[in-house]
């Protein structure tokens, strides 16, 4: 069977509308590498060079690489624990990131302390890099709160569940950075990164975010984790052209990085943030990756995708390629990996214990902090509810 040629929107009359095969071929054109895919570490663990981005990874020494490995193993471990806790009834739902560890850890570790990140709801790995304790995520999925970290202190906004909303919020925040004079060559220069998925690119808010960021030269990196699936809908349900190419139409650079390559994600995001901090933003990064698990614990991917696809992506696992590289190119001993695994298991145990020990929220939790300046109407409602609630005491 011949491989379908990908389609490009040209004027030649007979290709005005692409076939389905042409669209899919275009979307996956860099799947195995290729000129447009930035890669520094192959799926086989071989360090390869990239003339444009090598310098953004030049300072990555063995210790740093080990730390990136550790980040990814720990993040994957507590992510798996989240799945297990849901299956055991301790969480209402969990949103797994399995397969996206490199895309998240690589980009998250590119951030400077003063940079701001706006996540969607799957960015547990980015949360980790911002110093948000994994237990701070649990309340969202156990139903006790909507996230307990301080988004200003951690420079990591609360999870945004409405698809694409955060692209405008991030753009506004980045405009504020610019208005405050934080864009430029100074050491206090700042940028913002906004996380969203391939499905979100169909949302109007993402389009508007691109428009606004472009006309205000906002220092924002739009970081799209294209994990190939928006619940059951493949990328060809969202677009005819590869997502990174959309940036051109808005007037800023777009780049596709191997989202399972932590070094490439780190290097490309460092570059993109530097562009933004120095006044050349915005930038679109498409991290080409794969959601190896379900959309959430409520989802059943067997209804819409083939197991073969997952098997292919397992060969590109983001963690395994770093392990292979550490062993083959750096001679790292098994003891290191055992140590990280033990640390990961300890983290998972702490994560689990914290979860099962979480107290239910107080009865009047729902009335808390609805407003900054209390509403007399709501206060009266709270008092009436508490009196009603108290009437059952001793009954």
């Amino acid at each position: 069977m011949s491989v379908p040629q990908s389609w490009t929107p040209v004027t030649s009359a007979d290709t005005a509308v692409p076939s389905h095969d042409q669209v899919v071929a275009g979307l996956k054109a860099t799947d195995e590498g290729g000129a447009d895919l930035v890669q520094l570490l192959t799926p086989e663990g071989e360090r390869v060079t990239d003339p444009r981005f090598d310098r953004y990874a030049a300072d990555i020494d063995l210790d740093t690489l080990k730390n990136l490995y550790r980040d990814m193993v720990l993040v994957r471990r507590f992510d798996r624990e989240g799945n297990a806790l849901q299956r055991q009834g301790q969480l209402g739902i969990w949103v797994p990131l399995l397969g996206q560890e490199a895309a998240q850890v690589g980009s998250g570790r590119a951030l400077a302390p003063q940079d701001m990140a706006f996540p969607s709801y799957r960015e547990h790995g980015v949360a980790w890099t911002r110093g948000v304790d994994p237990t701070d995520l649990l309340g969202i999925f156990r139903g006790t709160d909507h996230g307990t970290w301080d988004p200003i202190e951690k420079r990591f906004h609360l999870y945004t569940i409405v698809i694409g909303n955060q692209c405008l919020n991030a753009t506004g925040y980045a405009m504020g950075q610019k208005f405050e004079g934080k864009v430029g060559d100074g050491s206090d220069a700042e940028a913002t990164i906004c996380y969203f998925g391939d499905g979100a690119t169909s949302q109007g808010d993402v389009h508007e975010g691109f428009v606004w960021a472009a006309v205000y030269d906002a220092p924002v990196v739009f970081y799209c984790q294209n994990n190939q699936w928006a619940i059951s809908e493949p990328t060809e349900r969202q677009t005819r052209v590869p997502l990174y190419k959309r940036a051109q139409g808005y007037g800023f650079p777009g780049i596709r990085v191997d989202g399972n390559d932590v070094l490439a994600c780190l290097a490309v995001t460092r570059w993109a943030l530097e562009e933004c901090r120095t006044g050349n933003g915005p930038v679109l990064v498409e991290a080409f990756t794969y959601r190896m698990d379900a959309h959430t614990t409520s989802d059943d991917p067997t209804r819409y995708r083939l197991a073969d696809e997952l098997e292919l992506w397992k060969l590109k696992d983001p963690i395994e390629r770093v392990r292979v590289n550490l062993v083959r190119e750096h001679g790292v001993e098994q003891g290191f990996f055992d140590g990280i695994q033990a640390e990961a298991d300890e983290l998972a145990a702490r994560f689990r214990q914290f979860c099962v020990d979480m107290p239910p929220p107080a009865p009047d939790r729902m009335f808390s902090k609805v407003y900054a300046e209390p509403s007399p109407t709501l206060e009266a409602q709270r008092e009436a509810f508490l009196a009603y609630h108290a009437s059952f005491e001793g009954a």
């Binding site: 709160d145 996230g147 301080d150 988004p151 945004t160 506004g172 950075q177 808010d205 508007e208 407003y371």
Partner: protein, 324 residues
Amino acid sequence: MAVLTMAKAINDGLRAAMERDPKVLVMGEDVGKLGGVFRVTDGLQKDFGEQRVLDTPLAESGIIGTAVGLAIRGFRPVCEIQFDGFVFPGYDQIVSQLAKLHFRSQGKVPMPVVVRIPFGGGIGAVEHHSESPEALFAHVAGLKVVACSNADDAYWMIQQAIASDDPVIFFEPKRRYWDKAEVDVSATPPPLHTSRLVRPGSALTLVGYGPVLKTCLEAATAAAADGTELEVIDLRTLSPLDLDPVFDSVRRTGRLVVVAEAPSEVSVAAEVAARVQEQCFHSLEAPVLRVTGFDTPYPPSKCEEDFLPDLDRVLDAVDRSLGW
């Protein structure tokens, strides 16, 4: 004491707020060079620059969504939605982010954003330029909603809304933009979320807000000529409602007519009626009546005289209540 149109009073209020706090931004479509289609922001960009008065791209979700981000950064954006019927592309950001971030963050991320919306009909406009969507916002927890009815209130209320750490949806009655009134810039205004008794009377309580307040006062004048003294209350705040003055009044008069331009079903007027029957049941001499727009889409402008509550419809309701 200055005599100002409501549009100028809001302009002066915005200017005062911007002078007081450099974090206050004005943003919206055509608010800069043009000064807004109603000239409410006239001259502000010239005096405060393009980084404080932003002519935005033409996208309401973008206006609200970026204002949310600017507020996270510590700014106090004042967004203008050009016309009531254009707010809906921004409704998602208002409901999902603006209204909920303070609650979601348990107070760590306040949302001091004002969304100004010229609302209501009576200007002979095309579709989507004459709507009264206040109930859609008053129903949303986390938002505060106010409507001014005169220049003096407008001057103070816009400044109070900007000073609030909660998001405030600020409804401006566009057909009253050019009505003049005395504005006392040295006064101490009442708190933002208070209603106000504007004309005392003993026979019946008339409650309104925004553009119909003038209609209510005209009705009270007409009724007084017939020897019937109507008490008129301007709600001013639609969320939270401040109904204690209404309860006090109804306990004295025994009768209530609520007037609004918005359709009546599941409306602010309906909430007032429900709460009054809860609190004043034994004082009521007649059912609470509502005089409102009809439960239709806002009609073509040649029909709007019939759609909008006018003097005769208000007096008709007053007669029905008094004749109960």
